[in-house]
């Protein structure tokens, strides 16, 4: 398992709708802000890259020191961004694909307003379980 990993889902309108600090590193508040900052900076790269391929998994798009940003773009241009330090690409791909399936189920719920925060605790539990399994 990666010692540091931060997972964020960014909506089509560039608003973060889900955030989770996963990984075994001790939680520090200032580090979390630091992670947000790196992910935020990677968004521009993603915007350009997204139109050059029709794959959803864009692999690693950006790096900061020893941290790597991997991104997955869904059909509706919702971006899953993972900041991590290990390099098991297959695991990350599987992680994204399973989260994508969960996200579709949330999205199909007529009571979920597209672009709003994903507040479901079930979703949170499942994402964390997937992170433990794959990352």
């Amino acid at each position: 398992m990666a010692s540091t990993a931060c997972f964020v889902i960014v909506s089509k309108n560039d608003i973060p709708i889900y955030e989770a600090e996963v990984g075994s590193a001790p939680k520090k508040e200032d580090l979390a802000y630091h992670h947000q900052f790196i992910l935020h900076a990677a968004l521009d790269v993603v915007q350009d890259l997204a139109w050059t391929t029709n794959a959803m998994f864009l692999r690693s798009v950006d790096r900061f020191n020893d941290l790597v940003v991997s991104v997955y773009v869904t059909a509706g241009h919702t971006r899953f961004m993972l900041l991590h330090d290990s390099r098991s690409e297959d695991g990350i791909k599987s992680f994204f694909q399973e989260v994508h399936e969960l996200y579709i189920k949330i999205f199909l719920n007529p009571l979920y307003l597209p672009g709003s925060r994903i507040a479901s605790s079930h979703f949170d539990t499942k994402v964390r379980a997937l992170a433990r399994k794959y990352l």
Partner: protein, 194 residues
């Protein structure tokens, strides 16, 4: 009711596997529901344009979801980045899932470069609807236009989409044409991608 009692119960939607989407829905049930949608919205508005807009908004929410679901289910997690790709995705994949058949035709507008048309001789939502004279050019296909706009907009191709009746010679019923006018940025990007 059909299907009740057969379905396995799940504690949460997240535990339920995504269906393969092979089931069909009764047309009469859908027609009744759609009729109610139109009637309800009619009580909420005071002009035709507003009614069309409300139907379009209802369709938009469907389109956004349909795009996300179908790219996962039918296209094996591939996105559409090209204009013609997304149009043929709507014309065949989306139409087939929603209406059980591909759309009758997909054409490029002759006058403008940024206009495309999807035509349907007998649009499913219009099958049991005839529009009274005093409602002018109102077309319940606005709902379908909304679906198309929802798919396009979420895939990153913002467009203005409208539904129109077009009379066909020798036929009682006019066909419905969904007119798609893409935003300028889409045409620019298309040119850049080459």
């Amino acid at each position: 009711m059909i299907g009740v009692g057969k379905a396995k119960q799940y504690a949460n939607v997240l535990d339920k596997p995504l269906g393969r989407g092979r089931q069909e829905v009764s047309l009469s049930a859908f027609a009744f529901l759609f009729s109610e949608v139109v009637q309800y919205n009619q009580t909420q508005v005071d002009n035709i344009a507003e009614l069309e807009r409300r139907l379009e908004d209802a369709g938009y929410a469907v389109g956004a979801r349909v795009l996300e679901l179908l790219c996962h289910r039918e296209k094996g997690n591939r996105r559409e980045t090209r204009l013609l790709g997304i149009l043929s995705f709507i014309h065949s994949t989306v139409w087939k899932v929603l209406f059980g058949k591909v759309a009758d035709s997909l054409e490029k507008g002759t006058e403008h470069e940024d206009e495309y048309m999807i035509s349907e001789k007998e649009l499913l939502v219009n099958r049991f609807i005839s529009v009274p004279k005093d409602m002018g050019a109102f077309n319940c296909g606005a709902f379908v236009a909304g679906i198309v706009r929802g798919v396009l907009d979420n895939a990153g191709f913002p467009a203005v989409v409208t539904a129109h009746f077009v009379p066909i010679e020798g036929q009682q019923r006019p066909r419905t044409t969904i007119l798609i006018k893409f935003a300028e940025e889409v045409i620019h990007r298309e040119a850049r991608l080459g």
